[in-house]
Symmetry: C2
Subunit: 253 residues, 2 copies
């Protein structure tokens, strides 16, 4: 049995499927894909994932993409240390929250991340070279996102994204008044999902929101997440991004 | 064992979980929720689903919402007639497509549906009454969507939605050159998902796209879908929308 995990820095999508691999004690070969060098759009990588996106799981040659799909796959194949409730109602609660994170949280945190980090990268590239790089991106939506990152996201879009993030943290805060973890009394993929997009960085990225005061349960939950050995091990991965771009690891904002 | 299914007309979301119930031969109590009377925002319904949206599955008192979550739940609890591949790689392929339909197709077809149908309803309501109805909508995003439907979606947004739909039908057409069904050689929830949003109505809603000529495999697949007894039975459900609003059942466009 061979597991290969293609990923970038341990944050957002790349973090989200790394934590389950470690929680389950699965040995895997780590393949670092350098997003700063646009490796995800190079022919060798597009041959593996035609969408040109990280992360990717290769399990004995079966290629699985999209983190929520990868994480359900790991539950199906390696159920011994479960991160998905075994009772169907519990699994449905977890999937409700996964869907919420994927559809209502991820893109909005991502927009701020791109605005602050990818925008700097995109603007540092000379025009002709930038157009050449754009042509290599397989997904039209990703091309649009790169162009927008270069020209800058609009204030209105960024404000809307902040509003959505605030709605999400308030929703999770309210849930944590009822249950110890996001989808119920057990730690699940839903916690890993929200943590990967919002938990790691939301306080640091949005100090103006005053999350610490506004959401004490969320802060306590974040600490519980960080103190899990598997999460700590994933987060200890090297931050290979340029020093000025370390939005996520906390060295830059 | 009691199953109750709260739904509107057999199209889009309401259709998407109705087909699996019928495919699996599960007897269920059908509860019609009249969206034209805004029943989904009334206290009796919000007590069942605090998000105020159809459909909802009530299985012996356990409330399950969101069609993709409902459909996975039905697979977990009633696996006898499977609509989700039993091998994990097959299940991952299905989930990849479900995610694509949920995130890249549904909202865009929905925007056109709302523009043509809900807009007429929203504009027929007198201002004071409209504001009173808006206050009852639990999800802020839904309130925004209603207001936009009333004032009209922008041409740019509608054109973007059409582009996304075209991308989706081309992607499915390309896939059907390789496999008999969307996620592989078996009929799965992915087929039901795409059919519920795009298959039923895309040719009729967008005659200008020339889908018939452009996507012959998609058209043949749509016919195969329609000829399944469970699908035919679901589609034969009564269209209770006002005659001028029958975008979906085909009597109006």
């Amino acid at each position: 049995m061979t597991l290969k995990y293609y990923h970038a820095e341990p944050l957002a999508n790349s973090l989200k499927s790394m934590i389950p691999l470690i929680e389950k004690g699965l040995p895997y070969e780590s393949v670092y894909v350098d997003l700063h060098k646009f490796e995800q759009h190079q022919p060798w990588f597009v041959a593996i994932n035609p969408e040109g996106q990280v992360p990717v799981l290769d399990h004995d040659g079966a290629i699985i993409t999209h983190t929520t799909v990868i994480n359900e796959y790991l539950e199906d194949v390696f159920p011994d240390i479960p991160l998905r409730p075994r009772d169907p109602v519990g699994a449905a609660r977890m999937r409700y929250w996964n869907k919420f994170c994927d559809e209502q949280v991820m893109n909005y945190v991502s927009m701020h991340g791109w605005h602050r980090m990818v925008g700097i990268i995109a603007r540092s590239i000379e025009s002709g070279e930038f157009e050449r790089l754009m042509e290599r991106i397989p997904l039209p939506d990703q091309r649009t996102k790169w162009r927008t990152a270069r020209s800058g996201f609009s204030e209105a879009d960024l404000a809307h994204a902040t509003e959505k993030i605030l709605y999400a943290v308030d929703k999770v805060e309210a849930q944590l008044a009822h249950t110890a973890w996001i989808a119920g009394d057990a730690y699940t993929l839903a916690d890993i999902n929200f943590f990967s997009y919002c938990g790691v960085s939301v306080e640091r990225m949005f100090p103006e929101l005053g999350i610490g005061k506004r959401c004490p349960r969320l802060v306590a939950w974040t600490e519980r997440m960080r103190s899990r050995p598997a999460v700590a091990r994933a987060l200890a991965g090297e931050d290979r991004t340029a020093p000025g771009l370390r939005t996520w690891s906390g060295e830059a904002r």
